[in-house]
Amino acid sequence: MTDPTLIRNFAIVAHIDHGKSTLADRLIEVCGGLSEREMKSQVLDSMELERERGITIKAQTVRLAYKARDGLTYQLNLMDTPGHVDFTYEVSRSLSACEGSILLVDASQGVEAQTLANAYLAIEAGHEVVPVLNKIDLPAAEPQRIKAQIEEVVGIAAEDALEISAKTGEGVAEVLETLVEKLPAPVGDRTKPLQALLVDSWYDSYLGVVTLVRVREGVLRPGQKILMMAAGRSYKVDQVGVFTPARENVDELGPGEVGFLTASIKTVADCQVGDTVTDDGNPTQSALDGFKPSVPVVFCSLFPADAADYEDLRESLAKLRLNDSSFVFEPENSQALGVGFRCGFLGLLHMEIVQERLDREFDLNLIATAPSVVYRLHMRNGSLLELHNPSDYPDVMKIASIEEPWIKASIMVPDQYLGAILSLCTERRGEQVELTYVGNRAMVIYRLPLNEVVFDFYDRLKSVSSGYASLDYELDGFRESDLVKVTILVNAEPIDALSLIVHESSAEPRGRAMCQRLKDLVPRQLFKIAIQAAIGGKVIARETVGAMRKDVTAKCYGGDATRKRKLLDKQKKGKKRMRQFGNVEIPQSAFISALKMSED
């Protein structure tokens, strides 16, 4: 074990693309953690997808041995944090495993929404924050302006901010030295009962479930029987180790140290981020503060485009969940789209990532329904119903009131786009909380219903600001609202997959838009087809697909009978891919297109 006074635990907080992973690589390189040959670019982002999108999904950690100018060798533990709004809780847990942070800001782009959100999380975690300006080698770099911006917006002293280029390596050594100097050493008593923070866990095909912990008090050793306090499960520890970033087993982890344990844990779902790990025989008196079970807030249904892929989809979802317990799924049966799964996610990006991984890693062609949020239904009989799927919407007469989740969104945008952003937020039922200017950039804080944000808000935000607006949000509780369920009916039969829960004010336009879309997609057939949008029994929009005018073979004599009968057989078979609504059949492809278009 290492003397805690020689340990520094830190994280790097930054907006996407400000160079966090590049800096991490450079730090590892300077400390000689990996040979050049082993050095893949951006080592910490281990998933292909993460590397490609430049987003860190799973927190990782690396222990570095740094020989400082005072002649002593320090143990530096770098916690890499998830870099997106959906993972705020995971970020906060990773940060609470450290004593300080590098606040990394792009020297030309300056402070962005996530810079701010993550900086506040670091400050909240009691961190010593070390401001660092990156990409100083770029011609557009304006270090003086950005330093002033950091002071003004973030509210920390920045005049001594380091100026570096993670790309060229310029100034990186100075970063390490500053960490040793400025960051407080962790404190902890190795004689006390074990108390460690569960930072993350993931599934490794070789080791099984690997759990990342930060020891606060006591000592963690192989063979020890541990207890996960919130989960209430105990395990015998197999291995204890660290990443340098190569995996290396150690005899023990003491106070202030960060490392992993394996303990024949079956699934990552048993390792909840933020849980307290203690000694089963000699438990600590107090669990660590701040534990929250992860709660999915955005839901959508996933269906295989080809029903034959259902089992593959189930297996793939199970495999993904091995590594991502914040994602949940359960089987769902839709009349329009067949069998699939209702899935819950931490947020929109999380949803997008899971869908993309299913598509890419498992080669599955999926149909996703429009995302929806969790509603709280207060029923007349006094019970509370959490609604994850519009198709489970109960009889409206039984509902006393409905609450929907709200968020507090921080948006940073160059001021020429401010007007467009404000009208977008207003259109989405937003309430302005704050509007401040920093130079020519505006920062607006809005409260918005999450329901309005999951429906193409992010895309609109990017398009009205030519891509310049950045968004961060946090959940902001539930509020009662005038929500209605809009049901789409084909020949008076509801199509579950297309139903929507929307605010009363947008029920008619959204319902009408969906009817019109379907009208164009549903082919004319033998019977005329009524497409309606309704709230309960009240029709709010209607379109009719007229019956086909003429569909008849001109010639059919004795010599044609066999061929025409075979053609008929083929057409009969083709109908198996159709969904029956009353006496009309609608190709599944029409519903898929309707769903796809609603994403535009």
């Binding site: 033998l526 019977f527 003429k550 569909d551 008849v552 073979t553 010599g559 009978a561 066999t562 006496n583």
Partner: protein
């Protein structure tokens, strides 16, 4: 005694029309004697298989049967008469093209025993005949029609409409022109693009465009109305006749009665030993000739139809008729009562929508149902 319709296929044409997907071939030389003998042998073969029957109609189709030697036609009819009972008033139809050469042979066909002529007029417009790849001009065509009307008590003409660039008004005036010859029977077909034909490739390549569904429906409605006015009732989707002048031979197909197919590529439906068999002869003329020479017949395939296939066929053919399906005939042919052969819900919903009319004895597609018959059948016959 059982009734039987006899179809005899002549596989040759002067040229292939670009819209036609029938079994037709263009040959340099034709040995008429060999053909005559081969037809005779195959008729004898089927006479053996089928046993005694009343032949209600004989139909020479093709190809272009007016290219046959008239004595071959006579020989075939003799063979039919010696194989089965051929009544004096049985309908004996020959398809003819209105070229001057063939028109010259019409009297000889009449003498050979043909009593009904089906004339492939197709159009009374020079540009249209050209587009359709026909070998006759308008003047020749008119002569052929007049000759046919003079020689035959019963004759029919085929017309093709809804051609590219044709308006409904163009078509109706062409139809009026045709009606001046006072035909007792007209087969009017909407131009259909069949796979494997030159038109199929041209149409896909955008060389020409056909009327959309809506326009096609307008053509059809106008055709029905005009022919109705002229006293020619629609008795099948594309066939119109004065009462009593319906093609008895074609009715046998639509009523799902027995018919035997003689010649290359001919199809048959025969109830033998209580089961309905679908027969198909070898399509290639040389292959058929060889087989007949060797085996006495050129059957390529003979398959029993199961109840479901039979039900589908009987419905598919019978609902083309304005009189529809006779329930008793249906039960006798398919082996199960009409009511039990279909989904009741579907029958009811087709009736409710006014697409199907069902009474105690028959089931027929209404005018609304007829124009959508393909979809109606898919709906009715799907599980």
């Amino acid at each position: 005694m059982a009734q039987l319709a006899v179809y005899i296929h002549w596989p040759y044409c002067l040229n292939k029309c670009p819209y036609c997907d029938f079994n037709s071939h263009v040959a340099e030389t034709i040995d008429h004697a060999v053909w005559q003998r081969s037809y005779g042998r195959e008729i004898a073969y089927w006479a053996d298989r089928i046993g005694p029957a009343n032949v209600t109609s004989v139909f020479f189709g093709g190809g272009t049967p007016s290219l046959m030697a008239p004595d071959s036609v006579a020989a075939c009819l003799q063979a039919v008469a010696s194989a089965w009972d051929l009544a004096d008033d049985a309908e004996i139809t020959l398809e003819a093209n209105p070229t001057s050469v063939e028109t010259g042979k019409l009297a000889a066909f009449r003498a050979a025993g043909v009593n009904r002529l089906s004339l492939g007029v197709q159009a009374l417009n020079g540009a249209a005949l050209n587009f359709l790849g026909r070998q006759h001009d308008v003047a020749e065509t008119r002569v052929a029609i007049e000759t046919a009307a003079q020689l035959f008590d019963h004759w029919s003409m085929d017309l093709i409409y809804a051609r590219p660039d044709q308006t409904v008004a163009d078509w109706i005036s062409e139809l009026e022109d045709a009606l001046t010859y006072e035909p007792e029977h007209i087969s009017a077909y909407q131009l259909t693009i069949e796979k494997g034909t030159p038109f199929f490739a041209d149409h896909r390549a955008g060389v020409f465009e056909l009327p959309e569904e809506e326009a096609g429906a307008a053509f059809y409605d106008e055709t029905n109305a005009r022919l109705q006015d002229a006293g020619l009732a629609r008795y099948e989707i594309s066939n119109y006749a004065r009462p009593g002048a319906e093609s008895q031979h074609n009715l046998a197909y639509w009523f799902a009665r027995d018919y035997v197919g003689i010649g290359p590529g001919a199809h048959g439906r025969l109830m033998l030993n209580g089961a309905v068999r679908a027969t198909r002869q070898i399509a290639a003329p040389a292959g058929w000739l060889d087989a007949v020479q060797r085996d006495g017949h050129g059957t390529q395939e003979e398959a029993m139809l199961d109840v479901l296939q039979l039900r589908d066929e009987v419905a598919m053919m019978g609902l083309r008729l304005s009189t529809g399906i006779d329930k008793a005939a249906f039960a006798a042919r398919v082996g199960i009562p009409f009511e039990r052969a279909f989904s009741q819900t579907r029958l009811l919903s087709l009736q409710a929508e006014g697409l199907l009319a069902i009474d105690a004895h028959s089931a027929r597609a209404t005018a609304q149902g007829l124009v959508r018959l393909n979809s109606l059948l898919v709906y009715l016959l799907s599980r």
